[in-house]
Symmetry: none
Subunit: 215 residues, 4 copies
């Protein structure tokens, strides 16, 4: 028997509140979403961090974004080796089954995963180097980004690496044949964003200037 427990009362109460209000106000839309399927315009790949709410920033409601969230909003390179790759599965489903028009990679300030990568690569977090460290092996994906920022002034290095987490993911997305093909055919566009959790800022990677600039 699974080791599950009943839900804490505070969540039960909040659910009943939502059911009696928001659900009632949107019932017709939710029913149509159930009956005729989802048609999200974009996939958003963001961090699991509790301070990042992609739907809030964009005023998005149920049905608009197909959302994958993992530690540090990373996409690994294309590796069709028959192993389980959750992020690659999400990207494949979004592009080949749903046909999303955009993939938005959203990085953020104060990212704990990126901080761990920085510590690991600079020798300050030996535990993350262990084979058994899932966070360490996951953050290995960001190593090419670390190489590009390791000489940045220490005060700005974490932020620079947070932005690299977005750029490395976009580079890796392009290694997926179905992503590259859709981008080539102009049925898909990729977008790189970074948000400042405390100040509510939003920067986007500008491919002409080659840097992140405020939206």
């Amino acid at each position: 028997m699974p080791q599950a427990r009943l839900l804490p009362a505070y969540l039960v109460q909040r659910y009943h509140g939502w059911k009696a209000t928001t659900y009632q106000d949107n019932k017709s839309w939710y029913r149509r979403l159930a009956a005729s399927g989802q048609h999200p315009r974009a996939m958003v790949i963001s961090c699991c961090d509790s301070r990042v709410h992609v739907t809030s920033i964009f005023g998005a409601d149920e049905g608009e974004f197909f959302i994958h969230r993992n530690v540090a909003n990373l996409v690994p390179p294309y590796t069709p080796d028959g192993q389980t790759h959750g992020t690659s599965a999400a990207v494949e489903y979004a592009v080949t089954s749903l046909g999303v028009a955009h993939i938005v990679v959203l990085g953020h300030s104060n990212c704990g995963g990126v901080k761990g990568c920085l510590d690991m690569c600079s020798g300050e977090a030996p535990e993350l180097l262990e084979t058994s460290s899932f966070v360490g092996r996951w953050m290995d994906i960001l190593r090419p980004g670390y190489e590009r920022v390791k000489d940045v002034d220490a005060a700005f290095r974490a932020r620079a690496l947070e932005k690299q987490s977005v750029l490395v993911s976009i580079d890796n997305l392009m290694t997926f044949p179905f992503v590259a093909k859709a981008v080539e055919e102009e049925s898909l566009t990729l977008h790189g964003l970074w948000t400042d959790v405390g100040e509510g800022g939003l920067e986007q990677f500008d491919p002409v200037r080659g840097e992140f600039l405020p939206v």
Copy 2:
């Protein structure tokens, strides 16, 4: 240079609207979240599906939930093989770094990933059996669940498998030593939920009765 494009104008406008209203209303809280770090009470593992908004159902705001979203809300078994495991990294970070008190696995109706698993296991989706199918290899995680529901009446099989996606994930969570230890020490509880997208229903796995019952 990454293949990124500037953000579509409608998202830029919506962002500026959010910045001028919701952000202003919550600035002091967001600044404190940035300054003193996140302290989420729970981790939520849900599907990427655009119709599932866990924060909405639970009236949750920035800072409350550490959220991992992947196809069909699956957790693979503990496999410390030095490869990249995004879901395992998220669980490790939530439990060992953030010390969340709860992990909530949230399944849902009309799940396209579960539907794919059903088709694959019953021989109707040979393309998902290919080595190169990321969705297929990801849904392999749910095969033990399929074995348990394959004789269920066809009309109810998808729903039964959606609930198995929750139970298999909880079973797999317990294979992670740090999860089992935290559950043992009663510093962590696991919860299995399933939501009906159209009707707004919410069921939780009741470990005493051994079935999902309405919350």
Copy 3:
């Protein structure tokens, strides 16, 4: 040969500007909308008035709203007499073919059509009473609303009648069997709004209080 002329140069120039910028930024989305069809969440019925931009107020982009615009945002009563009824056709298409979840009727301040109705009903615009007056006969739809506000102080009467144009339309919408059925089945909701063009205000009809209140 139709009496058409080539487009004025200022519109040609603006179109080319749009094609080179906004279209390029959204090409992948527009292509998907063309390939997989529209799935708008709501129908909006608003006035033709050039000062009312429903998409702007709601930050809506292509694909979100099915929009019918006529003089004074009116819906006539259900009259299946085999004649041409453009508004009824739009409502029928939205509800029975597209399955929209909401119909939003949006009235506005400074409405010339409503002003004409007021003048006509109070005897100050005899030309609108003529059989050949299309505006007059169209504004006849609002006569039940005029009856309800004719004793309102003159300074507030136009505004009161603008709000009646919303309420009469909602009443008339409910005379369409397919609308009433969808509302009954909770697959469709109706909403009454009134916007102040100059002040940017937005009021909604509150069915509990029986009046329009600021959103």
Copy 4:
């Protein structure tokens, strides 16, 4: 009491975002529009289809276009029979009250209304032939256009009929005495356009060549 419901929360939030940004940026203009009335240069008649945003294509802002939208951008023939004719009322108001300089009829690709007309006229949609079908009776306006394209190769017939929906409307506009008079006096010009939703193309009817050509 009207069967109205309060607005879904996502639209309320988006409205407040617009009010705090776009409205503030344009307040002086919106106030002048309210105070001194609208003076739109053109009337645009387009389809209700959510994928067609005439203001976007022409970079138009509040105050520029008096916009009528109905199914398949149709104008019925002049029929002053004392019945309600919403499209005719809109045309009458635009020409005789506002004195617009142009009427632009904008057709589009992938038009569901035109597709319905094609099916109806070719015997594949008997339900549209019923007296009670508002869409069917509305699309009867386009029957003269169907006669002109019925022998076109099936692969191109829908597109040909979409363009006929523009030409039939322009022909019908000329049956309105006040339109014909204004055109005669050169205080009004008529324009026929067709836009390709997916490719962002725009074609205009060229009266010299007698065909639609790219703008």
